[in-house]
């Protein structure tokens, strides 16, 4: 089991009182599995993803990523754990605006300090068809190219898990296809993908879908 979220509860403090974003949700993803989390806006999908990524500590429940509970680690250890074990892909890409394509892909190596990162980054850039965009900054790229850069960045440190939040939300059909194919390929190589999406095409790529409703697990369909 690469991703194990067991009875997770996460509550926010709102103006009118506590808001339960995720209520006793359990999800697990095996190695090579592609799982989509679906549900209406505000049902707790992104919160569940951030909890799984070691970015948002739950009030209750246990998180286990490839045998490690990230919340049992110190802040700096957890950051390094994320860099080494988890790849993130977001709808807004979140690229560093002043770095070119190659440097953005290499950003996770800032933490690991690996000397072979450049070589891997160049391979990924080539794989995602961005070789001729190597020196360009995000502002000079199309949305599809930006998402491919983000995907390449997520894969740089060869993580076991990819957490993707609406990665095709801003993309056209071809670019969405490309991204989803890449994620599928990742799972084919033994990785685990937990994808949060509204996109039916993206759901179709997933081997299993988990539906949330009002912060609770409504349905799990294979």
């Amino acid at each position: 089991m690469l991703i194990s979220l067991d009875h997770i509860t996460k509550t926010y403090t709102g103006d009118t009182g506590p808001i339960v974003a995720v209520d006793d949700v359990s999800v697990s993803v095996e190695a090579g599995e592609f799982v989509a989390v679906v549900g209406p806006s505000g049902c707790g999908k992104t919160t569940l993803l951030l909890v799984a990524g070691g970015l948002l500590r739950p009030e209750d429940g246990e998180v286990n990523i490839d045998g490690t509970d990230p919340y049992s680690l110190s802040g700096e250890q957890r950051a390094r754990f994320r860099a080494e074990q988890i790849g993130f892909v977001f709808q807004q890409f979140h690229l560093v605006p002043y770095l070119n394509v190659l440097d953005n892909v290499m950003a996770p190596a800032l933490v690991t300090g690996e000397t072979s990162a450049r070589e891997r980054a160049e391979t990924l850039v080539e794989r995602f068809g961005l070789t001729d965009r190597l020196g360009h900054r995000p502002g000079q790229l199309s949305t599809g190219e930006r998402q491919r850069v983000a995907l390449a960045r997520a894969l740089l440190n060869e993580p076991r898990v990819i957490l993707a939040d609406e990665p095709t939300g801003n993309l056209d059909g071809d670019n969405s296809e490309q991204v989803l194919q890449a994620l599928k390929a990742f799972t084919d190589e033994g990785g685990a993908v937990l994808l949060v999406t509204h996109d039916p095409d993206a759901v179709a790529f997933a081997g299993r879908q988990v539906m949330l409703q009002g912060g609770q697990l409504a349905q799990s369909v294979s």
């Binding site: 951030l50 994320r82 996770p108 933490v111």
Partner: protein
């Protein structure tokens, strides 16, 4: 990729922010360096002014010394010429007069016939202008029980002169007396007062001021009366020959020769008038010179003190300005960098969020901000030093000595990054502490 590359790339991307921060640091450093440079320049100029003042003063004193020396030499020369032109005085004494005793006592003790005076007056000697026969003796003033010198005198003009002159000294008429200071002063005698000397009643005609000599205890009376009072009728002790003139250089020898022909056996002495006049002139000249030199020295000291005071005032003024300007500039610069850093941290919120999400630790985020702050400080320190140095030297005016001080350059290059880092510290801490989950959810 290293964090340093990230820092450099971010600076290049937000160059205006970087430039504004550098300007802020530069202004603070420039204010400090300009102030220090101006103060240093002031101190150098002050030392130079004082040194120049000292040299100028010494030059003036030396010049004045030379002028005084020249004036003294000229005075001596002129005095020599003047005294050479003046007549000189001699005294004719009796053949048996003990010259050593005469000098010791101040009065002659031996006598000569009064007829010698007539003989001299009638002789064809043309070098003597005035003859003054004197009879003098120390006596006890019986009425006052005091030892006095009683001197009888009479003015005489050699008849050989076809153009007789007025006698040099006033004659003391019979029945009258002229008194020295120590005789009239204690008794409060004045011209017109009556007194009796050894039984002879006399009226005071003149009272001399104090002379500090035997004259102070001398009473001058008519020659004939004195001869009677002293029992020395037709005798004199000395004949003063006044305002003698000779054509030759060895004039004493000449006059001796002339008088010896008329009064063989008499002794002739020159009175010390010329030497005294010269000594007096020298003393006076020396006093004038000393006063002049002292005035020059005092003037020099005043000039140096004045220059030093002006320079001290200038330095104090510059220090006062620096005391206000530098802290103001540092505080202003600090606040400016804080504002820029806060703006920068807000602008980079998303970037920091994703960097944190993909594994960058809060320590790395701090390094990201502080690294930029250090570069801002280094650039600001360097530029500020150059600007401050140029402003400081330009404002200080021309100065021969270099004002470059490597210590201040190092201080600027250390202080500026420290200032910049301190101002960035809090915004950097806030940025490093932000929750990536919150940032990502916001976006």
């Amino acid at each position: 990729m290293k964090i340093s590359r990230l820092v450099v790339q971010e600076i290049a991307h937000r160059f205006v922010n970087f430039v504004l921060a550098v300007i802020g640091v530069s202004i603070a450093v420039a204010c400090l360096v300009a102030s220090v440079t101006m103060i240093d320049a002031g101190e150098i100029q002050s030392r130079k002014l004082v040194a120049e003042g000292k040299t100028e003063s010494e030059r003036l004193v030396a010049k004045r010394e030379q002028e005084v020396k020249d004036a003294g030499k000229k005075l001596n020369d002129e005095m020599r010429k003047i005294t050479k032109g003046l007549g000189f005085n001699i005294v004719v004494l009796a053949e048996d007069e003990d010259i050593a005793a005469f000098h010791a006592e101040g009065t002659p003790t031996r006598t000569m016939p009064q007829e010698y005076v007539d003989r001299l007056a009638k002789s064809p000697i043309v070098v003597i202008n005035h003859l003054l026969p004197i009879v003098t003796k120390k006596v006890e003033w019986a009425e006052e029980k005091q030892t006095i010198v009683l001197t009888g005198t009479r003015g005489e003009v050699p008849q050989a002169h076809r153009d007789p002159k007025k006698p040099l000294l006033d004659l003391v008429p019979k029945g009258k007396v002229v008194l020295g200071y120590r005789l009239h002063h204690p008794r409060k005698l004045k011209p017109g007062s009556k007194l009796t000397i050894n039984g002879r009643e006399l009226e005071v005609v003149k009272c001399h001021p104090e002379r500090g000599s035997v004259d102070d205890v001398t009473a001058w009376v008519n020659l004939e009366e004195a001869q009677q009072m002293l029992g020395m009728q037709n005798l004199v002790n000395a004949i003063l020959a006044l305002e003698c003139n000779c054509a030759t250089v060895d004039r004493i020898a000449e006059i001796r020769g002339e008088i010896a022909k008329v009064l063989p056996g008499t002794q002739i002495l020159e009175r010390g008038r010329k030497a005294l006049a010269r000594a007096e002139a020298r003393n006076k000249a020396k006093k004038t010179a000393d006063a002049s030199l002292e005035a020059a020295r005092t003037s020099g000291k005043q000039m140096i003190a004045s220059r030093k005071a002006n320079a001290d005032e200038m330095i104090a003024s510059r220090k006062a300005q620096a005391n206000v300007l530098v802290p103001l500039a540092v505080v202003g610069s600090f606040a400016w960098i804080v504002l820029l850093a806060v703006g920068n941290a807000r602008q980079r919120r998303g970037e920091i969020g994703i960097l944190r999400a993909i594994g960058m630790g809060s320590r790395d985020v701090l390094v990201l901000f502080l690294g930029k702050a250090l570069l801002v400080g280094l650039a600001g320190g360097g530029i500020g030093y150059i600007v401050g140095y140029l402003v400081g030297t330009g404002y200080s005016g021309p100065i021969e000595q270099s004002l470059f001080d490597v210590n201040w350059l190092l201080t600027a290059l250390l202080m500026a990054p420290a200032l910049s880092a301190a101002a960035t510290w809090l915004p950097a801490l806030v940025a490093a502490g932000q929750d990536p989950a919150v940032v990502l959810q916001e976006q």
